[in-house]
């Protein structure tokens, strides 16, 4: 590779940050609190804010006993994961007749009789205990600006802690891994998974020793990895391969990343996600000055990628993702597909669809390469429970022989001749059709369609 394909500090700052990132956007990205407000306004998924403190009085007035298990304390204007404390469990220590007794948290434990006093402790991710007064002192330190990027007065926020996705359990140490997607001009240009290690003390920051794993934008499959800026292929000290991992909810993350950029004046930015096993991707942070280490994890130069999409005008969300998938697909992704083998399907197949309870329901499906996204009958989706609980991801406009129509898009999982496909489908009225489920070309990339019988 040529040196001028690589994005360095000089080119990043001078060519991209100063030109495309406006102050109004940086203000939002630099404050985790403003980021949360921004995401909430746009109804984009993010870890729930429990409380925020901007003044010392707030800290003293807050009912600390109201906190439950699993929360995170962060400085709103912090950087590099500094000052973040992850709490796994609340522990209520009962002092009664001189005996000390540790008890797990319960919502009633602090409403004891006056003859007992109780004190609250919290358990960190590594199992050590922090007392409530130490925790408050930490919050005061945050307010004082100790972890602020400019050492200015800061705000402390407490948000819910996102669980580790079971897929990453073996790869990540203590903390939750995150996925970063760098977006330029509404086109995702590079992405990486960051895995906390013992060296990084459970933080997903590569300058503290976290592992960074490059992701193929077309498939969401990991391609290469780095640790301390050195290429690696396995988790150090273990045998776990870092390549070939499939990132769950990949397409959804790409869509969210582009949607964020549409609403913020940051032309070159990174969107960081945590993956909740149940809720899917949650946006945890926006970065106005993403680092350059991601290039080593991907074994690819960012400057060249950016230059290829710089001139594109009026990129609509769907197109930006298509552009990214077409331009930046790794040869690797073809290999993966070849390894899996191309399976041949007929026009009419039997698919198994996963319902809301996780049960596989067998049903006839039509293979249609003329449609982009898969499509499911509304009545069928409702009967399987797929429309419940805010399942609708977003709405898309579809043009068909019937005219322009707005259809909800929901996540679906199905199996086609033994291959599991996690994807999205639009919901339409197929009540008059024989096949209530149609599989579009988006989900057929590893299949060959045989038109005849």
């Amino acid at each position: 590779m040529r040196a001028f394909h690589i994005l360095g500090l000089n080119s990043r700052n001078h060519l991209y940050l100063s030109r495309f990132n406006l102050r109004s956007g940086k203000r939002i990205a630099d404050s985790k609190l403003l980021t949360k407000k921004f995401l909430k306004k746009l109804k984009l998924p993010h870890p729930r804010l429990i409380v925020s403190f901007s003044q010392v009085a707030d800290v003293n007035n807050f009912d600390w006993n109201s906190l439950e298990d699993n929360f995170v304390i962060k400085p709103a204007g912090g950087f590099a994961g500094e000052g973040i404390v992850l709490i796994r469990r609340k522990m209520v220590k009962m002092v009664k007749n001189g005996h000390n007794r540790l008890k797990n948290s319960s919502p009633f434990s602090h409403s004891d009789h006056s003859s007992h006093s109780s004190s609250v402790n919290f358990q960190l991710m590594d199992g050590s205990i922090i007392t409530l007064s130490d925790l408050k002192l930490h919050v005061l330190d945050i307010l004082e600006g100790r972890f602020n990027r400019l050492n200015l007065q800061d705000t402390a926020i407490i948000e819910e802690r996102v669980y580790k996705h079971p897929k990453f359990r073996r790869y990540a140490y203590q903390g939750t891994p995150d996925v970063r997607i760098i977006v330029f001009n509404k086109v995702p240009v590079m992405a990486a998974l960051r895995l906390p290690t013992p060296e990084s003390k459970g933080r997903a920051n590569i300058h503290q020793g976290a592992i960074m794993v490059g992701i193929d934008l077309a498939t969401g499959i990991t391609t290469a990895a780095s640790h301390w800026d050195k290429p690696i292929s396995r988790v150090p000290g273990s045998n776990f391969r870092l390549t070939g991992l499939e990132i769950p909810f990949w397409d959804r993350m790409m869509e969210l990343a582009v949607e964020v950029q549409e609403h913020i004046s940051l032309g070159y930015m990174a969107i960081d996600f945590l993956i909740d096993p149940g809720k899917g991707p949650l946006i945890v942070e926006l970065t106005a000055r993403p680092g350059m280490g991601i290039q080593i994890a991907n074994m690819s130069g960012l400057r060249r990628r950016i230059e290829r999409v710089e001139g594109l005008e009026d990129v609509t969300p769907g197109r930006g993702i298509e552009v990214a998938k077409a331009l930046f697909a790794e040869r690797f992704s073809d290999k993966i597909m070849a390894e899996r083998g191309v399976k041949v399907v007929s026009v009419f197949e039997t698919a198994k669809l996963k319902d809301a309870k996780g049960i596989k329901i067998e049903l006839p499906a039509k293979i249609d390469t003329g449609a982009f996204r898969s499509s499911i009958d509304r009545e069928l989706a409702e009967s399987l429970g797929l429309m419940k609980n805010r399942a609708v991801l977003w709405h898309d406009y579809y043009v068909s022989s019937l005219g322009r129509e707005k259809r909800p898009v929901i996540p679906v999982t199905f199996w086609l001749i033994g291959r599991k496909i996690e994807t999205t489908a639009n919901v339409s009225d197929r009540s008059k059709m024989k096949e209530k489920f149609l599989i579009g070309r988006r989900d057929l990339s590893t299949f060959m369609v045989r038109p005849g019988k």
């Binding site: 330190d141 004082e144 100790r146 074994m299």
Partner: protein, 229 residues
């Protein structure tokens, strides 16, 4: 007087009015030192604590001499790290914490001055460290070095000891380079003889640097595996 010698004219006027030559030389060379620090950042990748701290420490070194400057700085830093370890146990907030550290540094420097003043006779090692000149150094160089300590500690708190050490070493390297520029007879003579040319060169270098978008030397090293691919 015209456009090509107006600075020389100003220098001559200043000298005639009794302004110390040292002041004029530092005034003229300070932007040069700043430019060299900027070059080190954008071309090599040496960061240091911004631009002002290394430049000011260069001037402090000029007042103390390089040996005593480095000794003083490392001594003050050592006291500061120890002081922080002591004060840390009190669990104070940032500002009172820093004030306590400064108190310990002041007492430490005072103690050293007292000891050296008391001994009078300084052995070989003392001279090697430049301690014989300590009693003649004014307060300002010492204060400037304490300033660096504050930056060091706040970096240590927010970025960790390793980062603070690296940046401090980079700062000292930059300050040493700055010191050589300020103290070498060649540069001093040059800047007095050709002040206008110096200004012009400084402007040109900075405009070039400010628009340079290539990789820094240290980035060539960081991305060597990528480039090799």
């Amino acid at each position: 007087m015209n456009l090509s010698n107006f600075l020389q004219f100003a220098i001559a006027q200043g000298e005639a009015a009794g302004v110390p030559l040292e002041t004029i030389v530092i005034l003229l060379l300070f932007p040069v030192v700043a430019t060299v620090i900027a070059t080190a950042r954008h071309f090599i990748g040496l960061r240091g604590f911004g631009i002002f701290t290394p430049a000011v420490v260069s001037v402090a070194f000029l007042a103390t001499g390089l040996r005593l400057g480095l000794t003083l700085f490392l001594g003050i830093l050592l006291i500061a790290i120890l002081a922080r370890l002591l004060v840390k146990r009190l669990r104070l907030q940032y500002m009172p914490n820093m004030a306590m550290v400064i108190l310990v540094i002041s007492l430490g420097v005072l103690l050293i001055i007292g000891v050296i003043g008391g001994i009078r006779e300084i052995g070989g090692i003392g001279e090697m460290l430049g301690l014989d000149k300590l009693l003649m150094v004014g307060i300002f160089p010492i204060l400037l070095l304490v300033l660096l300590t504050e930056t060091f500690i706040s970096t240590q708190i927010s970025h960790g000891l390793k980062q603070a050490m690296t940046t401090t070493i980079e700062t000292l390297v930059l300050a040493t380079i700055g010191y050589s520029i300020l103290s070498l007879q060649i540069t001093r003579d040059w800047v007095l003889a050709k002040p206008e040319l110096t200004v012009l060169l400084t402007v040109a270098v900075n405009i070039f640097l400010g628009r340079f978008t290539g990789l820094r030397l240290m980035e060539y090293w960081r991305f060597r595996e990528l480039i090799r691919k």
